[in-house]
């Protein structure tokens, strides 16, 4: 890898990570039980546009930093693991089948929070939160695919950033 591609990779990962954190902290769609955030939009965008490692980095780090900044540092490691895995698997599978990547990415979030969040809050509370996590992931995935297409159409130089 050349020196310039290393710098672009660092710049791209940090920009997308910051955007994932901003979408987690600032975009809140009210639902009956709480709020949905749109971090998954950036995660699926990165997975479908760039490579699995970039998607995993911005997903794990962005959501973990959002938890730390938002005052919930105890969730940072759980978010890092769950969303990092979501970005990695969605990015890997998107190379073969995008519907499969979407399905796996959407399923990882509620299952991951159920498994790891259950250690933190107990499985009764984690089970109660699973439907909201599934809804958030689903909305984020659908919007992520739509946003990904629009961005590629409205800003073609995005292809120059592909590494």
């Amino acid at each position: 890898m050349t020196r310039s591609s290393k710098a672009i990779r660092a710049s791209l990962i940090s920009s997308l990570t910051a955007l994932a954190a901003v979408f987690t902290l600032l975009v809140k769609i009210p639902t009956g039980k709480g709020y949905l955030n749109l971090c998954d939009v950036v995660i699926f965008f990165a997975a479908f546009t760039f490579n699995p490692l970039i998607a995993a980095s911005c997903a794990g780090l962005g959501t973990a930093l959002a938890d730390v900044i938002g005052g919930y540092p105890q969730w940072a490691l759980v978010s890092f693991a769950v969303h990092g895995l979501e970005g990695l698997l969605a990015g890997l599978l998107a190379r073969f089948s995008k519907p499969l990547a979407l399905a796996v990415g959407v399923a990882i979030v509620p299952l991951g929070y159920l498994a790891l969040g259950g250690l933190l809050t107990g499985y009764a509370v984690a089970l109660m939160e699973a439907p909201l996590n599934l809804l958030q992931s689903l909305v984020g995935a659908v919007l992520g695919v739509m946003v990904s297409r629009s961005v590629k159409a409205s800003y073609p130089p995005v292809y120059d950033l592909l590494i």
Binding site: A10, S15, A18, V22, G71, P73, L120, V151, D160
Partner: protein
């Protein structure tokens, strides 16, 4: 109390791991008390109360929901013919709540009593690569800028589409605009990084320094000894 940030990180990890070891509910309660004491020493009363307040909703949910998962042991509360609360359910709820408080206090005292530079330097000292530290540092500096830009984009899209415009339309337009803005700044930022010597070997910014490693080692050894003695003591209770 002034602790080296590397020691605080080790302390947070220890307090997280120790509450998952096989301990009675009294043992977990003791470690929860220890983590609250550390929080008081490191970030003061106001910081500790702020951290505890943010846990309120989850603690209520844990106390209400966890007993329903464990329905064995002596019945403590009956509601007519229905057994509402069992002893094992109560123990599970208390253990889960104590564990959650302990982990939360450990991490909030680490973050509440350290600066961003101290945490980054500690991560570097503990083996995180230079490029990863650079990415985290850049991200932390971009978040306020991207946040402000996103708010402005959101307002502009609302004005463009009108107040009666559908929520999903301006949200979608805002998301696309924010992503395009972020991607457009990627290449100039990469060039700026290179022109400042980043991604070249052997060049490190030396403006922020941690205390001597010897002091950190001594503090870590003292804490490790404290944990070992307390764990044996708690197991014997």
């Amino acid at each position: 109390m002034k602790l080296d940030p590397r020691v605080k990180m080790a302390l947070a990890v220890c307090l997280t791991i120790i509450v998952f070891l096989p301990l009675s509910v009294y043992g977990i309660a003791i470690y929860t008390a220890i983590s609250i004491i550390f929080s008081l020493l490191l970030q003061g009363l106001s910081g500790t109360l702020r951290s505890l307040r943010s846990l309120g909703l989850f603690l209520v949910l844990i106390i209400l929901m966890s007993p329903l998962m464990e329905r064995s042991g002596q019945v403590l509360i009956n509601l007519g013919a229905f057994h509402l609360l069992y002893r094992d359910g109560l123990v599970l709820a208390l253990a889960t709540a104590f564990r959650f408080v302990s982990i939360s206090m450990a991490f909030s005292s680490l973050l509440g009593s350290s600066t961003q530079n101290e945490i980054l330097m500690s991560l570097y000292a503990l083996g995180l690569g230079r490029r990863s530290c650079l990415v985290i540092s850049l991200t932390l500096s971009f978040i306020p800028f991207i946040g402000e830009s996103f708010k402005r984009i959101n307002e502009s899209q609302k004005l463009r589409l009108g107040e009666d415009g559908h929520f999903s339309r301006w949200l979608f337009a805002s998301l696309v605009s924010a992503l395009v803005m972020t991607l457009r700044s990627t290449a100039p930022r990469a060039m700026a990084l290179e022109s400042r010597g980043c991604m070249l070997t052997g060049k490190l910014t030396g403006l922020v320094k941690l205390q001597s490693p010897l002091r950190a080692v001594l503090q870590t050894l003292a804490l490790a000894a404290g944990f070992a003695v307390s764990y044996i003591g708690v197991r014997l209770i």
